[in-house]
Symmetry: C2
Subunit: 247 residues, 2 copies
Amino acid sequence: MSNPFVQRLETLSRLQDADVQTLEELCKSPRDIGAKQYVFRESSGSAWFPVIISGWAARHQILRNGGRQITRLMLPGDAYYFDAPPDSALREEVVTLSACRFVLIAHAGIESAIKASSPIGEAMRNYGRMENSILSSMVVSIGRRDAFERMAYLICELHFRLGAIEGAIQDDAFDFPLTQDDFADVLGLTPVHVNRKLQQLRQSGIISLRSKRMQIHDLAQLRRIAGFGSAYLTQGRVLADRSPAPA
Amino acid sequence: MSNPFVQRLETLSRLQDADVQTLEELCKSPRDIGAKQYVFRESSGSAWFPVIISGWAARHQILRNGGRQITRLMLPGDAYYFDAPPDSALREEVVTLSACRFVLIAHAGIESAIKASSPIGEAMRNYGRMENSILSSMVVSIGRRDAFERMAYLICELHFRLGAIEGAIQDDAFDFPLTQDDFADVLGLTPVHVNRKLQQLRQSGIISLRSKRMQIHDLAQLRRIAGFGSAYLTQGRVLADRSPAPA
DNA sequence: CGGAACATTGACGATAATCAAAGCGAGTGG
DNA sequence: CCACTCGCTTTGATTATCGTCAATGTTCCG
């Protein structure tokens, strides 16, 4: 089985064999770690960034009042490359949500790889685009979808993202290591509310979730509920047209 | 007055004079456009990306039910470079919120600039980092802060971002072209609720806002309310330590 | 002056949070 | 092997933040 991070970058840009070689080189000496461990924190400095090889992790922020918001679920092949710049006050942590295997890649290492090969640079920029677009969709979900739709959306997103990872999905079922507390912290809800909405999804026969295994029974309906894959573009005119925007 | 986009990139990486030259070249022939106009939409294709030179714009998504969520306020110097990849179902639009001047930069143009000069590539990656970190903080705000704190946070963020743009802030006051409807669509609230929380901020003497001009009277308190600039790192152990995470 | 867009206010309703307790299940130690 | 425990899930009762609906006011502009 090949490295999911390298595999990911291959889908994001047309890499040469030499590029793949270089990247594989950067990913050797992986480490294993249990659930609920910190992979990356302030004390790690910013000389390396983590890449998840297997298992799930999350970026999160903790607030004064003890509130916690997960800003990004990290699946195999995901990196914390586009973290806040070193001088930023905002620095997120990376925690494992299940047992994980990960590597730390030196920023210097990837920098010189980028300098040496522009497809790698392009792949990293495209990776950034992807992250950005996921983050945007989270903003939309949390900002404008109710709890039920939001949960449906996240499940759709995970199903979609895992689909790109070989062996992660079998017959619309996949491992789902999140506790309901974690789930709540992704969705911006309370665990209690998550529990209730989860029941609702189960009782509708759309999914089942038992012992950390998510089975989607009715993907089409799940997507309909979530409004997944259908960002609606407003009716309107093209660039620099001075007509008023639609209501 | 120099180009705010080039200026921005200069702060993000150590550019050579030649780099600045190249970038200025890419930014010639700006266009002017009124408020509530589309700067970028599906029909524009993805050959160019817009950069705001003056005025405010926004990236947003529209949902089936008519809901709208702004995912990013774009201030002078902001680009829509890190948009969703061309094959993504998710494509956001860019609308102006005030009269704007902007340029369209060809992706091909910036690509070759990046190929020719690695500091430009680094600057663009750092720009992506910045976007990413703002998006993350939006997720945290919308997910875990109540309406009052959230509004305070956004004002702090804008004050901070505008501070990097020369001439944008005078004595903690700045132009604020958003209607309460726009404001609501950034915050994930209803206009009515925005109105009420705005009153609350005004009556506390912390800000005033009249005729599209925001004046911050008590920045320190605003930041306290928002929890701005204080991402709390959890207590815990360093990398790959197998000790349990704190509760 | 008239109109349209925007802001404000009030009454009411609904979604989600809070508080609290009980149930379940997997791993541990006696 | 069974009781125990700890973490997680489930349920109920209550509260509150925020949304909805609707009307009135205000400002800006042609």
